[in-house]
């Protein structure tokens, strides 16, 4: 059965971005309707050309640098391409960063306000990272 999963991605740390990307990609590729809302420290990694390394929270985060671990950016991209996940930038975060949704990688959708995101999330499972 297909579920509706809404993910709020706020943290800029490697572990949280990785877990959010894993849930988004596996869920979307398994037929769930996945929407990810990016705000706060999570958004800037998706500015075109960005190559900043996400800082680790703890020892485990260092293990994620292993070459066999799919990078979170790749997993979010696969979530969008293989499973039609919607990746949405928070309009407030875009304003504070003084950028627009055109400055983000192409898998990202339109600038989205919190009100619209929450309305669309009605009845969905809401996960926050």
């Amino acid at each position: 059965m297909s579920r509706k999963i809404h993910i709020v991605c706020l943290s800029g740390t490697r572990e949280k971005l990785q877990m959010a990307a894993m849930v988004a990609s596996v869920g979307a590729a398994s037929g769930d309707e996945v929407t990810v809302f990016f705000s706060m420290n999570a958004l800037a990694y998706f500015i075109k050309g960005d190559s900043t390394e996400a800082p680790v929270e703890g020892e485990f985060g260092k293990l994620l640098a292993h070459k066999g671990v799919p990078p979170f950016k790749q997993l979010f991209q696969q979530a969008a391409e293989l499973g039609d996940a919607q990746l949405l930038p928070c309009s407030m975060a875009l304003d504070l960063l003084e950028i627009t949704d055109d400055d983000l990688v192409p898998e990202f959708g339109e600038a989205t306000g919190l009100t619209k995101f929450l309305m669309d999330a009605e009845g969905a499972q809401l996960l926050s990272f």
């Binding site: 894993m22 990609s25 590729a29 398994s30 037929g31 292993h66 066999g68 799919p70 997993l75 696969q78």
Partner: protein
């Protein structure tokens, strides 16, 4: 004519092997068999879950010398 495609996802971690399989599954024809090679333990249990949910067909799953060989037939 259906064919078997081998996908070597050894030494990648969850959900890498599953994503590899799904990428090739999208490109495959109905009836094709995809054989996923993985050293990730979780993959051996996760892939059949995914296959059953999506409605493809598990052909076989066996571990040979620490490598899982998971064969899936594209059903739709």
């Amino acid at each position: 004519m259906s064919e078997t495609k081998v996908i070597d996802a050894c030494n990648t971690y969850c959900p890498g092997p599953l994503m590899e399989l799904i990428t090739y599954m999208k490109q495959a024809e109905v009836g094709d068999i995809l054989e996923l090679l993985s050293t990730d333990q979780g993959t051996a249990s996760d892939v059949p879950e995914w296959v059953n949910k999506i409605g493809h067909e598990m052909v076989s799953s066996e571990k040979v010398d620490d490598i899982w060989h998971i064969k899936v037939r594209k059903a739709k």
